[in-house]
């Protein structure tokens, strides 16, 4: 995914900061990746490159670790992060149908982010409230009994926000155009 304006500088500064806070041993690779992801929301290729340089390790190793573990995401998170639970209880209650409904509405697949970075869609395993299956986590809020009809409701609220953001941006654009 393309970097946004100013993102490159942000990534470089973040990696530098995290590397400064940790001793540069391989044992710290996973904690370093976790800290960078916590700050940036994901692990851009550029960050992995710089971490590898910092630890004096082959970039392929860092990339290998990042792809091996499910926690690391290589796509930027959307403004709204939707995670669909596909743990056992949720799957049995139709979680995959819920996931598909989101895929259809967002026009992306599981694991992807929309080009405008408004949405990202992921799957998770058991969120710990199986009694409410199927469960989705929208940003940090857990929503129970998320059948496809509920998906429509959730999307309605999120879409409204998208339109508003879109408007604001174009207004801002107009304003700056005037100057």
């Amino acid at each position: 995914m393309q970097l946004m304006e100013g993102e490159r500088e942000e990534i470089l500064a973040c990696v530098k900061e995290v590397l400064g806070e940790n001793s540069k041993t391989n044992e710290n690779l996973i904690p370093i990746l976790q800290q960078v992801q916590a700050k940036l929301g994901y692990l851009p290729a550029l960050a992995m490159e710089k971490i590898a340089e910092g630890l004096d390790a082959p970039a392929a190793d860092v990339y290998g670790i990042a792809t091996f573990y499910n926690q690391f995401r290589l796509n930027p998170p959307g403004k709204h992060e939707v995670r669909v639970c596909l743990g056992t209880a949720c799957y049995m209650a139709g979680g995959n149908i819920t996931l598909e409904s989101f895929e259809r509405r967002m026009e992306i697949k599981e694991g992807e982010t929309t080009p405008d970075r408004h949405y990202s869609l992921d799957r998770v395993a058991c969120v710990g409230c199986c009694s409410l299956a199927p469960v989705v986590v929208v940003d940090e809020e857990v929503e129970g009994k998320a059948t496809p009809t509920r998906v429509d409701g959730i999307m309605l609220a999120l879409e409204e926000d998208r339109e508003n953001t879109g408007k604001q941006e174009s207004e801002e654009g107009e304003k700056s155009g005037q100057n």
């Binding site: 670790i65 091996f68 056992t88 395993a125 199986c130």
Partner: protein, 639 residues
């Protein structure tokens, strides 16, 4: 005796406990509202309930405290709260909402009416209202490690200490480390991470190793996609696990330990982090614990979400910053573990039993459970069962008792079909296996495993082929790729299963599937591969006919496999006065026929089930047909 100078750990501890008890008593003088804010409580709106309580209490100018507690165990009735008011037994309420909170504050906290009509149960014996023990669930349940879950304030170490928390540590420190080991061995405590290996034996091998540097690790990776017991224990009663780990460290002579907690469990990480700080402050962790010359400290390592990292050797590899791949054993971890040093790795629950065993003795522990599997089993009970939640029953309880009594059976007359135990490494057992007692060995014989403690009840609407495919897809995805059988064998099996859910295959396919399963089981290095075929092999063994229906008739009896069903609106049931389903369909597949009834354009239908859910119950006109063949007459009329 491990004493330094004049300080006696027992004496020091008693002073600390005295203070904690004073704190706790002064707290108990006021009414308290304990709101369950474990993950499922949060999802059901516990924080809102907490706010409602605080607002109502303030509005009435009452002097009452609202405290967050962990998992109370009755998830089906979330949000839950316990009200403890001096002069009354503590009472638990479920299904809380704003109205009920208002009422409880007004009638019970401000007035003196506990509103028993809304109560679930009392928590102490009394003359007025039954306790949880008086219900069938309470008769079968026996809470050892969950005893304090949902009752103590996880954020305050005093809450734990005032209930004799850390007294096992004080007791142990007053004696020889060998006594701890002897007690754990005598108790025959078996590891709760799945395999049931005796903890005492493991500790002893580590001790005997003789190296000065040793490590203790708590496995809180909990990778089973349908289980949440370990997290609940860590979130609700973190000190119990810490105390168990410190006792283990004392027994084997370790100075440093780690809790390997998955990063997806931020609340567990937070609670444990706070607990560690408080334990250090009180002198239960760190240098010279309780004034003795025993020093030990603990750190958190956040796992990164790979199922395989729950496996002992893979876990250690990932802690060392490597790819989480298993190693062939020997050497075992107790010989060469973390950083090449002898290491004891145990599950969260295994450690949680240790303080109880040290306090009350091995004989007490063995009174519960069976001879070969003493103690209790903890499950997250989910699926088609009334009382979902976290349950703890003595080993030896039968599956039937667990489902019918503790779980209160299946909802509104649903028909039991199978129970899945042990997650991706476990199996599906049918009705005929329900009298199998729950213990490590009996479950293994029946083809399932004790495993991680996920227990999913399934009914006639659950397809066994789809379930087997679900778990295999999970393990296939999580296979670390080291063993050819595990990597390619599971892939091949998954392809076959996917085919079966589409109606492809014949009798030979099923035979091949079974053989592949056996090959993967026998040819893989670690237990991920060795147990991955279990869900497939058990369903083949117990639900062969269901597989056959898929491939011979192109029919999914549970109406789940989407390539084998179609959605159809029964003209005889559909109403002309209704068009609810039309708007519910995301692909505009539903149209109105010439006669005003609705019908589905099969080319557009994505089988999302929306219309079936939307159709009002008085009509129930949308049905699924399998095999996917339209009744002849309808199509003609349609276009």
């Amino acid at each position: 005796m491990k004493k330094v100078g004049k300080t006696d750990p027992q004496k020091l501890y008693e002073d600390i406990r005295e203070q904690a008890r004073e704190w706790s008593q002064s707290r108990q003088e006021k009414p308290r509202v304990l709101v369950g804010t474990a993950t499922c409580g949060l999802a059901a709106g516990a924080l809102q309930v907490k706010e409602d309580f605080m607002r109502e209490i303030e509005a009435k100018g009452l002097d009452a405290e609202v405290i967050e507690v962990g998992c109370i165990g009755h998830c089906y009735a979330e949000p839950l709260a316990i009200i403890a008011k001096p002069g009354f037994p503590p009472v638990c309420y479920g299904y809380l909402d704003e109205g009920l909170v208002h009422r409880l504050v007004e009638d019970f906290l401000a007035g003196d009416d506990p509103s028993y009509e809304y109560a679930m149960a009392a928590l102490e014996r009394n003359d007025e209202f039954p306790t949880f023990e008086d219900f069938p669930r309470g008769v079968y349940e026996e809470k050892l490690i969950l005893e304090h879950c949902g009752h103590i304030d996880f954020g305050k170490i005093e809450s734990y200490i005032s209930r004799d928390g850390y007294s096992a540590l004080a007791k142990a420190l007053s004696g020889d480390p060998g006594r701890v080991l002897e007690e754990v061995k005598a108790a025959n405590l078996r590891g709760r991470g799945g395999a049931g290996f005796p903890a005492g034996k493991k500790w002893e091998s580590c001790l005997e190793n003789g190296e000065a540097e040793k490590y203790i690790i708590c496995n809180a990776d909990e990778g089973d996609p349908g289980a949440f017991m370990d997290r609940s224990v860590l979130e609700s009663d973190p000190h119990l696990v810490l105390e168990g780990m410190i006792l283990c460290a004392y027994a084997v002579g370790a100075r440093q330990g780690y809790l390997y907690i998955r990063a997806e469990y931020p609340r567990a990480v937070k609670h444990v982090r706070e607990a560690l700080e408080q334990a250090r402050e009180k002198g239960f962790l760190g240098n010279s614990i309780l004034g003795t010359d025993f020093s030990f400290d603990l750190e958190i390592f956040q796992g990164s979400g790979a199922f395989i990292c729950g496996e002992a050797t893979a876990l250690v590899n990932s802690m060392e910053g490597k790819m989480g791949m298993p190693e062939s054993r020997p050497p075992r971890l107790v010989q060469e573990g973390f950083r090449g040093k002898p290491t004891v790795l145990n599950n969260v629950k295994t450690f949680a039993y240790v303080p109880l065993i040290i306090n009350r003795g091995a004989d007490w522990f063995k009174e519960t459970g069976t001879a070969e599997s003493p103690g209790t089993a903890v499950f997250s009970l989910v699926g088609k069962v009334n009382n979902t939640g976290l349950v703890e029953v003595p080993m030896g309880t039968t599956l039937r008792q667990l489902i019918e009594e503790v779980g209160d059976g299946l909802p509104n007359g649903r028909q039991f079909k199978a129970v899945q135990i042990g997650g991706p490494s476990g199996g599906c057992l049918p009705e005929s296996s329900l009298d199998v007692p729950i213990d490590f060995d009996s479950l293994h014989e029946a083809g399932a495993i004790m495993g991680s403690g996920g227990l999913v009840v399934m009914d006639q609407d659950d397809c066994m082929v789809a379930v087997a495919r679900y778990f295999l897809e999970f393990t296939q995805h999580e296979s670390c790729g080291k063993c050819t059988f595990c990597r390619l064998g599971t892939k091949h099996m998954l392809d076959i299963l996917t085919g079966i859910t589409r109606g492809e295959g014949d009798a030979e396919t099923l035979e091949l599937l079974k053989e592949l399963g056996e090959d993967v089981r026998d040819g893989s290095l670690c237990n991920l591969g060795r147990t991955a075929p279990n869900p497939v092999l058990t369903t083949l063994r117990y639900f062969y006919d269901e597989y056959k229906a898929h491939i011979e008739e192109g029919r999914c009896p549970a109406l789940v496999c989407r390539d084998l069903i179609l959605y159809y609106i029964k003209p005889s049931k559909c109403s002309k006065l209704c068009n609810v389903c039309v708007g519910s369909c995301p692909t505009e597949a539903i149209y109105t026929r010439d006669d005003g009834l609705k019908a589905i354009d099969q080319d557009k239908c994505v089988k999302c089930d929306n219309c079936r859910k939307a159709c009002p119950t008085e009509y129930d006109a949308v049905i699924r047909l399998s095999p996917p063949v339209l009744p002849a007459e309808k199509e003609r009329k349609a276009k």
